[in-house]
């Protein structure tokens, strides 16, 4: 079973993602910010990380850099409320960029694609 680390400062979003992804058969753990995510990385050993951008303590961009220093191959999805124009960020560090929306079809299919499941 593939393991996914969901990083988001909004509790309701963490809850939603966890429910939805567990229903898809993934093992899901959550972190409230970039710092927490880094701590959990060695313990939880995720196969994929979903990173929100705007977070307190340590934001998604900083977390992305730090994770990349440790884990070069780990698939990371940047996930934000901003429009899809920000996609140029993916060119340098993340593997995908997903705009947050209520319809999680795109989010889930991106995860499956990155994990080679589809």
């Amino acid at each position: 079973m593939k393991r996914i680390l969901v990083v988001d400062d909004e509790e309701s979003i963490r809850f939603l993602y966890k429910e939805e992804l567990e229903e898809e058969g993934f093992v899901v753990e959550c972190a409230k910010n970039g710092e927490e995510a880094l701590e959990m990385l060695s313990v939880f050993k995720p196969d994929l990380v979903s990173l929100d951008i705007k977070m307190p303590v340590m934001d998604g961009i900083e977390a992305l850099k730090r994770i990349r220093e440790k884990e070069r191959q780990l698939p990371i999805i940047l996930c934000s409320a901003y429009g899809e124009y920000k996609q140029d960020l993916t060119t340098w560090a993340s593997d995908a960029y997903v705009v947050k929306c209520a319809d999680l079809t795109n989010f889930k299919s991106t995860i499956r694609k990155l994990l080679g499941l589809s």
Binding site: S12, E20, A81, Y82, G83, Y85, K100, C101, A102
Partner: protein
């Protein structure tokens, strides 16, 4: 006896000369006092139109310079032409007779009389003169020669029935040439018998225009003295007109500054609004994602036949709408830098099209593609351009759709019908290559009342729209150094024409490499 006779004759001669000199002086004094009166009236205003009218009225009024008609042409330095600006004078001898008879009955001070006369912009003569444009080139016409040589011309055409074409060239203006004489062609009923005079209008050290006078109706000959008097007045009038032009320019610049200032204030407000709405939209989006996400989970859990299914579906649908509004707002207000790539505009259009076709609007819409076989690449941001064309195509589909009541189900369903035409063609202008993309529908078109506002943010005629669809298109296209135009046909459809510069140099119909 002989001595006495010679003395008497001498006295008579002296008396004659003295009285002639007296008459001359009297005339000169009268002229100078008229000139002073006329100049005084020119100082009463700095309004451009008013000054011109005062000048021409002073030339035509019986108490002034007594010409039948006066016309004014001003130099347009930018285009190097002489432009007809204003004319004063009756359109016919009968009208002239009436005006002059009525005026002669009133005995008023000259300056008061002139200032009382209001501009008559509707006369035929004025309309003719305003339409005249003469190239400022040597030998083109007496009018341009008056400017270039800076001297008056008194042109008396002999009333000859035969051979008049040759004689009319004697002043050096090519009256018999192909160009024709602008003056006689336009201003006389019979060019063969037209006599007129022109004097240069002097500004500060340069000729700023020409005054043309004639006595078309009473056929009084124009004497050299008349020309001299007119020239003296024209020198004064020239300065007054030049001042009025400077004042008008100053007013224009002032107006422009005022407009720029209000635009900047508006811009500042928009920036503040943009920053605020971005923050708010961002804050709303997160909770909305979870509301919508859980609504979908609930919706999946609720059986189809239950009453609660309608509730959950309504929540899902409304969250979708709110998300769209927030996405529009975020994409309009965010200052995104362009991630430029070389793109084939046809591919972008196809991608936008597939985004629309996934939706529910497509129904009975017939698609017509007219893509040129060879299209040069454009340098653009693929996501932004895809969004721009998506908005245009989506709007076109919406314009061809309407809600129709479904009586059996008791609901309303969306029906779409019409032709959507997409065209991509290269073209070149001034040596640069461009791509033209057209999105045309056969919908209802845009209400002409709304047309000036369609690119203004937050202006919408749709029930559930924030009014950012077309402003986003406009923002994206202009950030690509492109242009967007609208060809609107109310009732039958609308065509949006987008022009974007190509990344390839040379002719628009060639592809230079890939």
């Amino acid at each position: 006896m002989a001595n006495q006779i010679s003395n008497a004759i001498e006295n008579a001669l002296i008396h004659y000369e003295t009285s002639e000199m007296g008459q001359k002086h009297e005339k000169r004094v009268k002229e100078l006092s008229t000139l002073w009166e006329l100049n005084k009236t020119l100082l009463t205003t700095v309004n451009f139109e008013r000054i011109l009218h005062l000048t021409l009225t002073a030339i035509t009024i019986g108490e002034g310079l007594k010409f039948n008609r006066a016309m004014l042409f001003l130099v347009n330095e930018k285009d190097h032409i002489l432009e007809g600006t204003m004319a004063v004078g009756p359109d016919s001898a009968e009208e002239g007779g009436r005006v002059w008879a009525a005026r002669s009955q009133k005995k008023e001070i000259l300056s008061d009389l002139i200032t009382q006369l209001c501009p008559q912009g509707h006369s035929t003569l004025n309309a003719i003169v305003k339409g005249i444009q003469i190239p400022l080139e040597q030998d083109q016409c007496i009018l341009s020669r008056t400017v270039l040589e800076g001297r008056p011309f008194n042109t008396q055409f002999p009333q000859l029935k035969e051979g008049w074409l040759q004689i009319r060239c004697e002043r050096g203006c090519h009256l018999g040439s192909e160009v024709g004489c602008y003056v006689s062609e336009h201003l006389s009923r019979d060019p063969r018998v037209y006599s007129f005079a022109t004097v240069p209008l002097m500004g500060k050290g340069k000729v700023i225009g020409v005054i043309l006078v004639d006595n078309l109706f009473n056929q009084n000959p124009i004497t050299e003295e008349d020309i001299h008097f007119l020239s003296m007045f024209a020198n004064q009038a020239g300065l007054a007109i030049e001042n009025a032009i400077l004042y008008r320019n100053l007013e224009e610049v002032h107006q422009e500054l005022k407009e720029t200032q209000s635009f900047l204030v508006h811009l500042e407000k928009m920036v503040a609004l943009g920053e605020m709405s971005t923050t708010i939209a961002h804050e709303i989006k997160n909770p909305l994602t979870s509301i919508g996400g859980f609504a979908r989970r609930l919706d999946r859990a609720i059986p189809e036949e239950s009453q609660e299914k309608k509730y959950s579906q309504t929540i899902v649908k409304e969250v979708c709408r709110l998300e769209k509004i927030l996405n529009d707002l975020l994409s309009y207000t965010r200052d995104e830098s362009l991630a430029l790539k070389k793109l084939d505009p046809r591919d972008i259009l196809e991608e936008s099209l597939s985004m629309v076709q996934e939706g529910t609007l497509w129904g009975g819409i017939q698609l017509v593609r007219e893509f040129a076989e060879e299209v040069p690449r454009v340098l653009g941001d693929p996501l932004q351009l895809k969004q721009a064309f998506f908005n245009l195509i989506n709007n076109a589909c919406q314009a061809m759709s309407e809600f129709l009541p479904d009586r059996q189900a008791g609901t309303r369903t969306m029906k779409a019908k019409g032709i959507l035409s997409l065209r991509v063609h290269p073209f070149s202008k001034n040596g640069s290559s461009y791509i033209k993309v057209e999105v045309e529908d056969t919908g209802k078109g845009i209400d002409p009342e709304n047309l000036p506002n369609i690119f203004n943010p937050f202006y919408s005629t749709k029930e559930s729209s924030l009014g950012l669809g077309l402003p986003i298109v406009h923002k994206i296209i202009t950030s690509h150094r492109g242009q967007i135009e609208v060809d609107n046909h109310p009732g039958t459809g609308v065509r949006f024409i987008v022009t974007i510069p190509s990344s390839e140099k040379g002719k628009g119909n060639r592809i230079n490499g890939s």
